[in-house]
Amino acid sequence: MFLALREIRRAKLRFGLLVAAVALLVFLILTQQALQNGLITSFVGAIRRQSAPVLVFAVDGQRTLQGSVITPRLEKSIDGVRGVAEAGRIGQGTFTVVVGRGGRSNAALVGYEKSQLGGPDRLSAGRMPSAAGEAVGSASDFALGDRVRVVGPGEGPVLRVVGLADDAQIQVTPTLFVSWPDYVAAARAVNPDAATVPPSVIGVRPAAGVTAAALAGRINGASEEADALTRRQAAEKAPGVAAVRSSFNLIFLLFALVVPLVAGLFFLIITLQKARALTLLRAIGAPAGALVRSLLVQVVIIIGGGIVLGTLLYVPLSQAKLGKLSLSFDLRAVVFWAVLLLVLGLASAMVAARRVLAIDPVEATTGGGAR
């Protein structure tokens, strides 16, 4: 223990470089974890945040709100399924808007017919809309009282933000939850050629005693056109989410391999360099276990230091907003990666530990320890 600390103090540059490398790797891993979480939340936050337990897409919609179009025939067949307690229309589209006196920007509108079937399930500020022209906005993009005008060739509705909801974006776009008539008015304003404004999905509440998953199964069984999913499934199976996860997992795997390999290489070389001194220590009675413990203490200090430094670098970044993407500090990710990297780092140091255990004290008398 004493030797381990003293060696670190005497070779600050050498150990400092390794701490820096580990810290950079940890910072990169946590940053990418935050990016992944932020991307997924921004892609499907509004689906998680809306209140309908079951969402019925048209199978042609490929599980995207904007791509799904519910035909009157499909809507009727959903209403007729046993176990449906209540159903309501939900529409989603992206519009050009002007917020306050600002310039033009994009906003996604989620229009719901019934607030408990498509409206936000929880607000972080303000209240739910109670009149036409009122909206709940994604908290990271809007403020209470914001006036949002939909821009189009026709006269678009002017919406007032009366409530805010956290993590409520869709398609990485500022999002507003509005009433169905306001949504239809917006859709007609931007495209006067629109014949009708059909719903994108139907929000459904199961009757008492019927689970959301069971009801989704029944609806899918009733119509080949329907693609019913529970709220959780709708978020997880949205196109892009799986691709984002797979891409990041590939990167995480590579990073998770690099950290222990770098640490393992470093301690192996250090051990080889110290072979002569370690042999001498063994010859004068130092037990092999004590030397291995000393090595492991160094591993813990170096990896731990890297994790702490990397996390400290990550903290300010996790509070930032990258374009429209809001990042957040993910404690679970920090703990997960800290434990994983520490375990992998210790495991990688086993090669060096084996070297220490293999030292024969007799070699101190023959000079073999220097080999």
């Binding site: 940053t31 791509g67 179009v69 050009t96 033009r104 994009n106 990485v172 629109a194 693609d227 290489l265």
Partner: protein
Amino acid sequence: MKLALRELLRRPGRFAVATAILALIALLLMVLGGLLDGLVAGSTGALRAQRGQLIVYSSASQESLVRSRITPAVRQVIEKTVGVGRVAGLGSVQLGARIEGHGPRDLVPVVLFGYELAPRGLPDAVPAAGRVYADRSLQSEGVRQGSTVLLGPARTPVEVVGFLGDSRYSLQGTLWGSLQTWRSVLAANRPGERAGAGVDQALVVRIGAVDSSTQAHAIDRATNGATKTLTIPQAINALPGVAQQQTVFNQIIGITVLIAVVVVGLFFALITVERVGLYGVLKAVGASSGILFAGVLLQALVVTLIASAIGVAASLALDAAIPAGSIPFVATPARLLTSTAYLVFAALLGCAFSLRRVLRVDPAAAIGGEQ
């Protein structure tokens, strides 16, 4: 120099771990770059394939093709603008496609484009109504020449008459037909987005010898701000997420290169420390610091090139192994070469940390015994 190479040949084990780590970092760089290239190529192919220099959107659309509407009156104004050559309509709609051999719920997401000016890779003549060319990526979904593809909830049939390459859009395969085909498919499947007679989503414009940006401004002035005209590269950058993806990935690649610098620096600093005595002897017998450092550089270069070769092979294997449509990864020669160049640069820079130590080696110490 010979000594450095001989050491590599005689004691490859000493460099094996560093080579393995660098190979992982090389793979990491190539995977990150390949993901970026895959994302960008899959999102922008349809725009890159255009044979005009400018794309005109309606100003209220925020440069979104789906939301843009150009009326016949605006088109006439553009056609009469000085410097404008050919003006051609463009329209798009994203739909689920039913392809022969797929199950009733196994739809393939596609984007149908209606065009007047043939994109690169297609004959000048626009196909007859109901006939389309398909992007080659759809061949992996079973689309063949002569296949009939059913589009959207209305199951609008289109017949595939040929293929073109690199024209994907929104990471989806594309179909290219006449504006008439596009209008009828859109009206049948997306009544809320129906385009009126003569209405296009955007216009592709060919211009004379005038500067593209100047001509773009001239068009927007002529339409009194009803349009927003972009050059093709500007239109590509305006696609949602493209610029942000490039920024984020390039930052991650930059930090990964920095990590490679630290790893190489660490490894060769330790190797140099180990060899200080040997260097003293070599200097004592006449070797200059330059020659000794060149040896270190050569070893770093060889190790990096071997690691890069492993990275290239692994990237190509990954590219071949990843199923089409799962992860947007492409291993292009340009990306593989660039990543190798980054790694070589990082290795040479990392080695520079050892230069000071090599210069400080005192030949007298070789005679005195201790360094």
